[in-house]
Point group: C2
DNA sequence: ACCTGAACACCGTTCAAGT
DNA sequence: ACCTGAACACCGTTCAAGT
């Protein structure tokens, strides 16, 4: 039973899990296909069956990151918090928390890509921005935000969250300062 | 005269210039010390005399990036634009322009560092944030911004610029949308 | 369909040696 | 002080071959 094909049907997932951990603990430069294969107990050529090259694995990691973060924002919308200001804060807090615990992954998600991203990655990032957009729309509908131009408000909120996260991951400000900044930003948006 | 030491005293600068160009044209993955040495016409071990390792060269590139961007923000402050709203817009526009023309470099400047950054890099990034801070302070003094909490306003402005730049470099929005977002963000801050 | 293992080209880093 | 060139370990990628 425990014969040769240690992984059957799930090597891809095993590689991604291990890669995510390595990314978190030692950064992107320490991420190599060969080491992942070694840790998974397969030959160095095995990953090729699931990822055509290293960039393909990085794209898959970014895709998982977007889906996870999108899921958290969607969870905020499904919560029973009546106050939309609280929802905006919760979504932004999730964003900053992600930036703190998975800085290298967030970098990867927002790194300048040379070519066009694969479809799965595009869809995943789209899901995140759609979730943020829905949250803004709902906040407007609840009268918490000015109805002005919803699309612009969505982008602005996304930019503020990404900017705060970026300052945190790059070590410019602490996670605590990041949370304070969220409050300031939301106060500004809500009041506007 | 044109004997052996092709570069004497300026190999470091030659390597950095070439590296910056490669970074711009082919991204960070295409940046190798050996190729830089080849293009400079020196042996592959020569860069070692100026950069202890690859990360050290990347740090030097980031440092130059921060200094260049800081210089542009400082130039905005030294300009004769009487209107501080225009100054804020000009500073933010310079930031977005930098993001568009040197996306990979901006990524490098705000990448999560594993260890503590070297002193020169710290100083250069400090110079940028100090320049942004001064601009905000002057805008407050000119009555363009509410005096509230200057430090928070500085961070918020920095976060918004970095966030918009990040959305642009990652291809989420166009440079044009980035400029529109700047207007929206500044309107929000000025009105507040 | 998935994995093995040899092969190739390239890289970062170290270091003794040259000038 | 700066550069050369050999050496080492590691890597991404390709590909014929196995099961």
């Amino acid at each position: 039973m425990t014969s040769r094909p240690f992984h059957h049907g799930n090597l891809r997932a095993v590689l991604l899990d291990q890669a995510e951990q390595t990314l978190r603990e030692r950064g992107i430069d320490a991420l190599s296909l060969r080491e992942l294969a070694r840790k998974a107990g397969v030959s160095h050529g095995a990953p090729r069956s699931h990822f055509v090259d290293r960039q393909s694995l990085l794209d898959a990691l970014a895709e998982r990151g977007f889906n996870r973060l999108a899921g958290e924002v969607e969870a905020v919308m499904a919560s029973d918090a009546a106050n939309y200001r609280q929802r905006l804060r919760a979504a932004a807090a999730a964003y900053v928390h992600f930036a703190v615990t998975d800085a290298a992954l967030l970098d990867l998600m927002f790194t300048a890509k040379n070519g066009n991203p694969p479809e799965g990655l595009r869809a995943a990032s789209g899901r995140l921005f759609a979730a943020v957009g829905d949250l803004i729309d709902q906040s407007i509908a609840a009268g918490e935000l000015e109805p002005q131009d919803p699309h612009r408000l969505q982008l602005l909120f996304a930019a503020v969250m990404q900017g705060i996260a970026s300052l945190v991951t790059s070590g410019r400000i602490s996670a605590q300062d990041g949370d304070s900044l969220i409050d300031d930003a939301i106060s500004l948006l809500v009041r506007a």
